[in-house]
Symmetry: C2
Subunit: 130 residues, 2 copies
DNA sequence: CTTGACTCTCCCATGATGGGAAGGTTTACG
DNA sequence: CGTAAACCTTCCCATCATGGGAGAGTCAAG
């Protein structure tokens, strides 16, 4: 299977697959005589694993750690769990930050009449210390 | 006032101020004979405006639009409000995406006993299509 | 006059991805 | 068999907002 087909099968772009290989997230696999990368079903499995981890917001570095654990029959599930919990805490922090921004903005927007006049509490709120 | 003091007074780094000038977000101001940038109180005001807008998650491009409106005595507050509402919608989308990730992860983590054994529903969940 | 704290510009790095150029390969069709 | 389309290769550059650091110039205090 060529890279395009592997990309379609795993739901990512060929660019991404090459990039993942370039940064060492996945190993360089076999090539045809003319230099085309070749992928088998198990490679697609791996790529799908990566894609799902990305869908859950894991960084490529974290995914590297997840892949090590995935490969390791001696792993402790506690290690995987710890990684996931760290990531949840990270998500929580980001959600909280965005939610705070949202609340402040909503308050400003609510105070703004939003008509043709220049008077605007949103700009005032940005201009003045809170 | 030199750039370092302006940076401290506005809560951003000197690097950022130079960068904002470089991309045209703020105008190049006066310089001393030897080339040092000089800032006055009103410049610090502007920088603080930018900083607060960034704290609310506006992109530098959006901040450029906000600054235009800020400068324009003929502005309609409706334009400001629209910009803010667009940004709120953007925040909502990001919050929703992160919240979805979080929920999925929490479910996986809850299923994982997290001990010394290799058996791990988190890895299984990443490996199998959902 | 030296030292240390500033400032200047310029280039490079981040993280994850896309765009595109210039060139080689494979496939399908007439 | 020839050619065109659809692939593939590597390499470089762009994004977004920011930081790091080199190498050089400036300023103030001791």
């Amino acid at each position: 299977m060529n890279i395009g087909e592997a990309a379609r099968a795993s739901g990512m772009s060929a660019k991404m697959i090459r990039h993942y290989e370039g940064i060492g997230l996945i190993r360089p696999g076999t090539r045809t005589f003319s230099g085309y990368r070749q992928y088998a079903e198990r490679d697609v499995h791996l790529l799908r694993f990566i894609r799902r981890a990305r869908d859950l917001g894991f960084s490529l570095e974290q995914i590297g750690q997840l892949l090590s654990l995935w490969d390791d029959p001696e792993r402790a599930s506690a290690d995987v769990k710890r990684l996931a919990q760290t990531h949840i805490a990270d998500l929580d922090a980001r959600i909280a930050a965005l939610t705070d921004m949202r609340a402040t903005l909503v308050a400003l927007v609510r105070a703004c009449h939003g008509d043709h006049r220049p008077d605007c509490p949103i700009l005032q709120g940005l201009a003045a210390p809170r």
